[in-house]
């Protein structure tokens, strides 16, 4: 009978040792550098302030020292802060560059100096989402700019499994992670056309749509812009 207290202690010990541990997700991506808003042309004798975003190896924005340069300083002159000034008619390539120690990253913008300044407009992006699990998820989408932000519209062929609880949709710069992602909201439509209005977001701010199951904490599917 002396063994029973030991067994009891073992039971309690077993319970108490059920501690929270760590699961890891493979979220490494190639860092990228991108110019936030490119221009087609720059009016002569005017200036345009460039901005660029560096996304690190997990797709998170990170402040870095970007080097700005012009392929022809006599046509477009660049300051180290990214201010471009059109000096003469012609064309020049503006380059933003950053070396993170492992690789040199560049983003370029071919600019014509002319009578006016025009910003590159990309009205919409088409793509498709697909499942990365055994839960149904697929459909075509259009991602477009609106006056207040963006709109993500899914086509009639969209379908998502209703058997999975807590399915959420995100915009992210890492297709395997929702860290630093923008949560659009819980999925409430599981088939057919529907759309999401996303305020205060630019068309090029994110690279991926990510469907994520909160209760399971796993990605269910994704789409690329």
């Amino acid at each position: 009978m002396k063994t029973y207290p030991i067994i009891l202690l073992a039971l309690v010990s077993l319970f108490m040792h059920a501690c929270i541990q760590d699961d890891f997700v493979d979220d490494e991506v190639d860092p990228i550098l991108r110019i936030n808003e490119s221009i087609d042309s720059l009016e002569i004798n005017t200036s345009y302030q460039y901005e660029a975003t560096y996304l690190n190896n997990v797709g998170s924005p990170e402040s870095v020292d970007i080097v700005w340069s012009s392929s022809d300083s006599e046509i477009i002159e660049m300051t180290e802060d990214g201010l471009a000034t059109a000096k003469a008619e012609g064309s020049a390539t503006i380059t933003a560059s950053f070396d993170d120690g492992n690789r040199a990253l560049e983003a370029t913008n071919l600019v014509h100096v002319g009578d006016n300044t025009t910003i590159v407009e990309q009205a919409s992006i088409m793509g498709f989402i697909e499942t990365t699990t055994f839960y149904d998820l697929e459909g075509d989408f259009i991602y477009e700019e609106t006056e207040t932000g963006t709109r993500l519209s899914f086509a009639d062929n969209y379908v998502a499994s209703a058997g999975l609880p807590g399915l959420y949709i995100y915009l992210s710069n890492n297709r395997n992670s929702i860290a630093n992602a923008l949560e659009i909201g819980g999925v409430e439509t599981f088939s057919g056309a529907h759309s999401y209005e996303i305020p205060d977001v630019g068309l090029m701010d994110y690279q991926f749509i990510v469907y994520f199951c909160k209760p399971f904490n796993v990605k269910v599917g994704d789409g690329e812009f």
């Binding site: 009978m1 190896n57 609880p165 399915l167």
Partner: protein, 289 residues
């Protein structure tokens, strides 16, 4: 509406006592009492299509008291009380930076209590005993907890299950054995799917019936009439309409004429919306006869 792996897998504990239960009510004044620890830790699950997908590692631990007591030779009361129930999920960390993406979480409460009343439909000692049992699932556990609302130690609904058991004891040579079968209907509330259940249990008494080895098949067939994500925003671990077939293997060893220790392992061999990992149970029991 919510449904949990907790509530579903508790089936293994509540109704899985190899030396008690079945079609054999306790005789008047007799009883069976068991203190056990049941747990499962899983990082994958069966999807709604019956295929296996990963999930963040989740653990469920129940420390329970199970009791049967014979009021008369025909009526037996049953209680399963998980007085300590723990549900946790791991941290989700970046494999690149090590940063926490989603913080882990845990709750410790009591679980859902199951109450039962078994009626022997045949006289004690019948060659093929038959019994009818009414189980009531009392939602004493916590059905929504944690930052994401996905932790739970109960399902939050009051269910009623009617179960019919039949069995037969016999000898295999000089070895005692028994075979029993059950079928049940589980009526559930609050948008949960109802269930048809059935199973078989085979037991073999070795070492002069000091050691009982058991093998059990449990099947839960969902009527698939519960809520889904289309009509609920609940983020419980599992949606409704879960079902499974499981195999359970157990050992029960009588240390003395009344006291014993038990251990079992169970796991789903097919399923939908349920963990794809084994569950374990160890315990001590007192067979009052």
């Amino acid at each position: 509406m919510k449904n949990t792996i907790t509530s579903l897998l508790i089936v293994f504990v509540a109704y899985g006592s190899a030396l008690a239960g079945g079609p054999w009510p306790q005789l008047k004044g007799n009883g069976y009492f068991k203190l056990s620890e049941w747990w499962t830790v899983f990082d994958q699950h069966y999807t709604d299509q019956g295929l296996i997908d990963p999930n963040l590692t989740t653990g469920i631990y129940n420390t329970s008291l199970y009791a049967e007591y014979g009021i008369t030779n025909r009526f037996t009361t049953i209680v399963n009380f998980p007085f300590l129930s723990r549900n946790y999920v791991n941290n989700l960390r970046s494999g690149t930076t090590g940063d926490i993406i989603v913080a882990g979480d845990a709750i410790n409460t009591i679980g859902d209590i199951d109450l039962g009343l078994k009626l022997g439909l045949t006289k004690p000692g019948a060659s093929v005993p038959v019994a009818l049992t009414l189980f009531l699932g009392v939602p004493t556990g916590t059905d929504i907890a944690g930052a994401e609302g996905n932790l739970q130690t109960g399902d939050g609904e009051f269910n009623q299950m009617l179960q019919l058991d039949a069995g037969k004891g016999f000898n295999l040579g000089k070895t005692s054995a028994y075979l029993s079968a059950y079928t049940a209907f589980n009526h559930r509330t609050k948008g949960f799917s109802e269930e048809f259940r059935y199973g078989l249990e085979f037991g073999l008494g070795l070492l002069s019936e000091k050691l009982w080895t058991t093998a059990k098949l449990n099947v839960v067939e969902s009527l698939k009439n519960g809520d889904t994500a289309e009509n609920t925003t609940n983020t419980s671990i599992f949606a409704n309409n879960s079902e499974f077939s499981s195999i359970e293997l157990g050992l029960n060893y009588y240390v003395s004429s009344n006291f014993g220790i038990s251990a079992s392992v169970a796991g789903a061999i097919r399923g939908e919306i349920i963990a794809a990992a084994p569950s374990y149970s160890v315990g001590i029991f007192y067979d009052m006869k």
